[in-house]
Each structure stands twice: as structure tokens, then as C-alpha cells.
């Protein structure tokens, strides 16, 4: 900002601190198409060998496309469920006269900070009991439920900022509360819906613990579990392969991140507006 101070000391410090990140992520890309001699820093030959997992199954591992499809189904279902449930519940808490509204809201506020990962043991047992263990549906529902308090909280915040007059005008124009919500209010909270949608998609896409614990079977494996099992397998320890799978895995995330960076900042800042 101000011209009264020099920038270069800050810049130097920041660059030094950021070196590990830059190194790791540039080698992530570089190593997927090159080979490096052991003990050397720089790659010495170009190869596409590390991408072979795309067209041939790795021994003992599921098919990458099946796994990718699972991940896609998982992440998009979580996104759709979180969106539809939070956008209705958030509206009810923000605008409708429901009994116990106060209590619901306090509950959402408390749960949105609650570390849900501590519940994984109980959830594991619940899924076993109700027979949803080792199914994609089970993990989807669990993941959705755990994201809901944050989602509702965020949507409520966006609804709160929609002017009341818009809704009042809608009522006077003869629309029902539902029509008012659907045709007048929902379009006003589009930024919130996009932000929450991208956020829950990315959370689902990157989630490791829930699918690993709740649906470990090969046929419902997602990319996080696939990559982890690849690394855990001592038979083919090959970093460049891991990185290729990793890059394949992370590319959609990075693209979405670049597109929606501004909208995501709010949520990555803890879901509080400011």
C-alpha cells in the first residue's frame, strides 16, 4: 500500500518462506513427465511412462476410471445434498417464523465449530448397524451431514443480507412464501450457493478419512483412497507414479480453485463473514 516503506525486505522474506511450496508443486508437475537419476536434482529424460495408470490397471488396484467415477459421484452428490438441504434450512432459520428457531440457530452455531472427525468411530459403528457400511451412499450421507452445520450457517448469512422488502414485495404481488423463496430470494443468494457448492465439492473430492474408514472396499474406492493404497503398497514404490496420479487427482481442484478463488476465501476463512 503505502509508498513510504520499502518493499524488498518483505518480498525477500516471503519468497524464502514460500520456497518449499513452490518447489513441491513445480516438481509435482515436472516429475510426472520426466525421469530423474537417483541422487540427482534435475530430471534427465522425458517420458509418459508415469501416466500408464490411465490405460492399464496397476496390479492389485482398482481401475482408475472406475475410481474417478466414484469420486465424481461422491463429490457431486455431497455438493448437491449439502446445497439443497442448507439452502432450505438456512432460509427457514433466517426468515421463517418457526418455533424453536433460536434453539436451532444456537445448535447450528455450536455444531459448525464442532470437530466432527472425533465422531468417526461412532459413525463407523452406526453405518455397520444400519447396513450402509461399505456403500457410497453411506459415505455420501455422512459427509453431507457433517458439512451441514457449516453450510446452513453460510447460507443463513447470505439470506440475512437479502433485503426484507424484496420478500414483502413478493408477498404483495401475490406470491406464496415458497414462490418468493424460489423465484425472488434464491437468485439473490447465488454467490453463496456457488461458494458453498464449490466448497463442498472440493471437500468431497479431497476427503480421505471418511471414505477410507466407512467404505474401504475396492469397488467403492475414491481417488484419495486409491492414491493412499498405491503409496502403502511396497511392490511399486515410485514417486513419479504417485505424482502423476496425484496431478490427475488434483487438476480439477486447482482449476475450480482458480475460477472461484474469491468466492472461496470467505469459507476458507472459517465461514464467518469477516
Amino acid at each position: 500500500m503505502s509508498q513510504n516503506f520499502k518493499n524488498w525486505p518483505i518480498l525477500t522474506g516471503l519468497v524464502l518462506a514460500t520456497v518449499p511450496i513452490v518447489l513441491m508443486y513445480s516438481y509435482l508437475v515436472l516429475d510426472t513427465v520426466t525421469d530423474t537419476k537417483p541422487g540427482s536434482i534435475f530430471p534427465n529424460s522425458f517420458t509418459l511412462e508415469h501416466w500408464r495408470f490411465l490405460y492399464e490397471d496397476i496390479e492389485g488396484k482398482a481401475n482408475i476410471w472406475q475410481v474417478t467415477l466414484n469420486t465424481l459421484v461422491f463429490a457431486s452428490s455431497v455438493m448437491l445434498l449439502v446445497l439443497s438441504v442448507s439452502s432450505t434450512a438456512g432460509y427457514a432459520l433466517s426468515r421463517l417464523n418457526i418455533p424453536f428457531r433460536r434453539e436451532f440457530l444456537a445448535g447450528v452455531l455450536i455444531l459448525h465449530a464442532f470437530p466432527s472427525i472425533t465422531l468417526i468411530i461412532a459413525i463407523f459403528l452406526i453405518l455397520q448397524l444400519i447396513g450402509l457400511y461399505n456403500t457410497l451412499i453411506g459415505v455420501i450421507i455422512v459427509m453431507t451431514s457433517l458439512q451441514l452445520p457449516l453450510g446452513i450457517w453460510i447460507m443463513k448469512g447470505f439470506y440475512d443480507s437479502v433485503p426484507w422488502e424484496i420478500e414483502m414485495a413478493g408477498l404483495q404481488d401475490g406470491a406464496s412464501r415458497f414462490t418468493v423463496w424460489y423465484r425472488l430470494v434464491l437468485p439473490q443468494v447465488r454467490p453463496g450457493i456457488i461458494a458453498l457448492g464449490v466448497f463442498s465439492f472440493l471437500s468431497g473430492w479431497g476427503e480421505y478419512i471418511l471414505p477410507t474408514v466407512l467404505a474401504p472396499a475396492n469397488n467403492v474406492q475414491v481417488l484419495s483412497g486409491y492414491l493412499a493404497s498405491l503409496i502403502a503398497d511396497d511392490r511399486n514404490f515410485e514417486f513419479n507414479l504417485f505424482k502423476s496420479v496425484g496431478l490427475f487427482y488434483a487438476t480439477p481442484v486447482v482449476i475450480m480453485y482458480l475460477f472461484f478463488q474469491d468466492k472461496l476465501m470467505n469459507i476458507y476463512g472459517g465461514g464467518t463473514k469477516g
Partner: protein
Amino acid sequence: MEIILEDFTKRFGDVTVIEKMNLKIREGEMLALLGPSGCGKSTTLFTICGIHRVDGGRVLFGEKDVSRVAAQQRNVGVVFQSYALYPHMSVFENIAFPLTVRKENKNTIREKVAEIAELVHIGELLERRPEQLSGGQQQRVALARALVRKPGILLLDEPLANLDAKLRLEMRSEIRRIQLETRISAVLVTHDQVEAMSMSDRIAIMKEGEILQVASPTEMYQQPVNDFVAGFLGNPPIAFLNALVQDGKIDVLNGKIQFDFPRNAKPSNSTKIRLGIRPEHYQPNNPIQIPGTISFVETQGRENLYDVKLEDGSILRSIQSSAFGTIEKNSQVSWGVQPDQLLIFDQAGNSI
């Protein structure tokens, strides 16, 4: 349509904001609800349109009791202070919205929108989005949207508050013109007495949840029921002077000035009263002279406004044409009043 509020009571939690209010809006008239902020005028408006529920009494539209009827079924057109245009819809879609939710035929909708757009002079703006419109244009769209489905009554909530001074003048007459053309009953909520006086047939003035007086603007200006009404109407505002009734006469400034009580019903001896003197009634050529020193001069161009400090410390105001020159501050003047133009209030503030 005639609107009647009968013993209307409204509470928010434990606080009663309006108790047993009665008000009648006549067919085809524009009634202004005037009062300072927090007096309950917006609450009254929101109750008529059905956004607030009544906690006591009834709301009648014509013969029909609508106290329990939902806002959607009341057929009331409302123009909100912020206009509340739907930001994601074009002007056409905004105006058509009340008709679309009634599932009217597409062609009918197009005709009706065109017709109303013609009336409010926005025919060429139909494709625009609200954010591309000026404040005055947004106001016109809001009016069109409220009127397009031929409501029984039109409610205007501080419609001019968000406009700059010039547009305010323009829209004042425009709203009045449209109301007169459609002959619709209308309620105008405002805290601005000029707006109320210039736009409405009658004014209902409110204070702390109570209606003090309902009258035509002229009547209310000339015969306010109490000092609050007298003070609220008129700009520059009225000045008050303490006085005493003595032997059928009015004593001002400890008896230095005396004149006959100008009304027939005289209060008893030694009654303390307050005289209300409007600036236009404290003038050089009036018979009963009250001398003082000019303590403040405000030049307004066509007119000058003077504050005159009397010897007991009270202040009278006078407004005079600037055509005859400006009198300096600290000059001694002896301007006067005419007894029959005075407003007289008792100690409680009620008009005598």
C-alpha cells in the same frame, strides 16, 4: 375501495406500539400518515397490507374483514421505500411478476404491462435491469408493479426518501397525477410535512402510536388540535410564547402587552396559556406589537427568516420578503401579531 381500521392494536413482544387506533381511508382519496420516525406509521402500513398481523381490532376493506387474510389475498399494491425491485429481473419481468404468479395469459400480461408502463412513462425502459435505472425511474417501475394488477388500495412507504431534491419535486407531482388518474385509494407514509401537505387529500398525523388529528392539509395547518401538530406542520416552524388570561384579556410579557381574548369561549382568570405564532403572522404592520432584538438572520433568497429575542428570553420567528431589504442582526424591532391569527393552547398543549 374504502379502508377502515377499527380499534387496531399492535404489539411487538411485550411492547404495545399501537393501541385501539381508528382510521378510515375514503374511496379514491390519498391519505398521508404523517409523523416522526418510530410513531407507528410504517407499522400501520404493514398491517394494512398484511405483512404484520393485528393483535386486536379489525381491518376492513369495504365491508370485508381482512384481519386474518394473508397478504397475498388482500390485493394491496405497495411501493417500498427502497422500491424493492427484483434485481435479477428486467423491468418488464418486474412489472409482470404479479401477473405471472396469478398465471395470467402471456398476451394479457404483455398488454397490461404496456398499458401501465405508458401511464408511468417508462415504456422505453422495459428491457433494462433495475441497476441500470435512475432513482426516479426505479420509483416509476415500483409504481407500475404495484398498480399493474389493479389493487384495491395503493400503499406508499416513504416513496421519496431515497431521491435527491430535484427528483423529489418531480416524483411528488407524478405520484399524485398517477393516483388521480387511476382514482385509487392510497395511503402515503411520510415524515416530511411538505410531502404530506402537497400530495394528499387528507393528513392523519401520528405520535407515539396515536392519531392526533385527521384533516385536510389546510384545515390542519390552520386549526391544529394541539401544539405538537402545530409544531410539526409548517416550515420555518411555529414559535410559542407563554401568556396569561386576565380579565378576558391576554397578558404577554408580564402584562406589558395586553389584548382582547380573540375567541368566544374564554378561559377563567389567571389561566396560563401558550400562544402559537407562525412566522408569516409576525409582521411589521400588525396591530399588537411585540418588541425585541433580532438575534439571527437567515437569507433564503426570496425571503429572509428572522429570529427575534424578546425581553423575557423567548424567541419569535418572522419570515419576510427580501424585496424590502435585509434588517441587520441586533437591530431593535417592534413587529406585531393579529389576535385572530394566533393559535392558543392550554397548559396541556390542547388547542383552545
